[in-house]
């Protein structure tokens, strides 16, 4: 009975604290930065092939890539590019885009109209610039 009363007191004390976290901010300030969302949504095709390709890329990123450290000259790196392409455009197009990117990730690449040079020395080549469409 005593322990139940203690528990009840603890719960009563915690409730206002937890509900405080959910309340709307009293002070209106600058809006939060936009979070990138793709119109198609993330992972529109949870098919076995999609899971297989994302799983393979994730395996590479987790276990193989760290052994030699970051080596890709592009940003996002080829594996990050592949993961994003497969998740946003499905495994078929995603794999095509990834193999194209792997082919372009060669010693002859350089900054120019196609790739901006970032301050960290990497070439900027996002998925959105490789969609075969002219915006």
């Amino acid at each position: 009975m005593q322990s139940f009363a203690c528990l009840l007191i603890v719960v009563c004390l915690l409730v206002p604290v937890t509900s405080g976290h959910c309340s709307a901010p009293a002070m209106k300030g600058p809006p939060a930065a936009d979070v990138h969302t793709h119109p198609a949504g993330i992972d529109p095709d949870p098919s076995p092939f999609s899971l297989l390709t994302t799983g393979a890329i994730t395996f590479y990123r987790s276990f193989i890539s760290p052994t030699q450290g970051p080596r890709c000259g592009f940003y996002p790196s080829c594996s990050a590019f592949g993961l994003q392409a497969v998740r946003e455009y499905g495994p078929g197009r995603g794999v095509m885009m990834t193999t194209d990117r792997l082919t372009r990730c060669n010693l002859l690449k350089g900054p120019g109209p196609d790739y901006y040079l970032l301050p960290n020395g990497k070439l900027f080549d996002p998925v959105s610039r490789n969609l075969l469409t002219e915006p």
Partner: protein
């Protein structure tokens, strides 16, 4: 005796001290329209846009019937615009035009509403906003530049005829404007658009399907073409050799790995041709924007 003298002195000192803080009230700042606007302007000058907006909004609450209300509302729009909040800025600029249609800030507000929509990539709305400024306020200083910006918006919408039309309208309406020479140069640049070398993504894809890397070469990416040629050549050669040696398991593995690279090579060639066209167009747009002294 001495004690009562001290008490009297203390009382006199107290009486002298008490009115001092009261007189400070007279030196306090009286909140006038100009003071409130100055507060907002000061924050604006320091790029403290949110604080500036707060002060300007306070002004509109305290002095709703003021003659400066239109300019203050316009300044709220400018603060949002400079703070890169184009959605809200466009709404504020629109309200300037609605509430104070005859205000001298209405044409500029309309022009900036167009710029906001342009930055938001809502090109139809941007074109409509610029068009409204040019039609409603043809005598204002914002009308000529609204026509020039609309010309570029039409270019961004790939409406070359529309772009040319706006430039011609500008030259016909404001032939003495300082930017008339720039508009003529922009027209000449638009004429060059048809002559610019374009690459067909389909041709690039077909070339790369026939000979891996050939499409990249056609699309002006020789480095990628050479890499693609050797990479796909190795996969194809590996598969063929494995089949000749009746090592079908190896042929299957190499073929399965090589096939996505072959398809990716076709995709990449078409992609390279698309990028070529984009770059050509971007370069031309940049030249026209510089000629017209466009904001972006």
């Amino acid at each position: 005796m001495n004690r009562s003298l001290i008490h009297l002195l203390l009382l006199a000192l107290f009486c002298l001290a008490v009115p001092a803080p009261l007189s400070a009230v007279d030196k306090g700042i009286i909140l006038t329209e100009d003071v409130q606007v100055h507060l907002g302007d000061s924050f604006m000058a320091e790029a403290e846009y949110y604080r500036a907006i707060t002060e300007y909004k306070k002004f509109l609450i305290l002095f709703p019937a003021s003659e400066q209300a239109d300019s203050v509302l316009f300044k709220i729009g400018m603060a949002y615009f400079r703070g890169d909040e184009f959605e809200t800025a466009a709404a504020v600029f629109a309200s300037v035009g609605e509430k104070y249609r005859e205000s001298r800030y209405a044409p500029t507000a309309g022009y900036y509403a167009g710029l906001c929509f342009w930055r938001l990539n809502r090109l139809d709305e941007a074109a409509a906003a610029f068009s409204a400024v040019a039609t409603r306020y043809p005598a204002s200083g914002d009308a000529p530049r609204a026509l020039l910006e609309k010309s570029l918006v039409e270019f961004d919408q790939r409406n070359m005829a529309g772009s040319r039309e706006e430039l011609e309208r500008f030259l016909a309406t404001y032939p003495q404007d300082d930017r008339a020479a720039g508009a003529r140069d922009a027209l000449a640049l638009l004429d060059r658009d048809r002559e610019l070398p374009r690459k067909s993504p389909m041709v690039a894809g077909i070339l790369s399907a026939l000979v891996p890397g050939a499409g990249h070469l056609y699309a002006g990416h020789p480095g990628d073409g050479i890499t693609s040629f050797f990479l796909n050549g190795l996969f194809i050669a590996g598969t063929v050799v494995a089949v000749h040696q009746e090592n079908y398991a190896v042929a299957g593995v190499v073929g399965v790995i090589g096939l996505p690279f072959y398809i990716g090579n076709i995709y990449g060639a078409a992609n390279a041709a698309t990028k070529w066209n984009l770059n050509v167009r971007k370069e031309l747009r940049g030249k026209i924007a510089v000629t017209l002294d466009a904001p972006f």
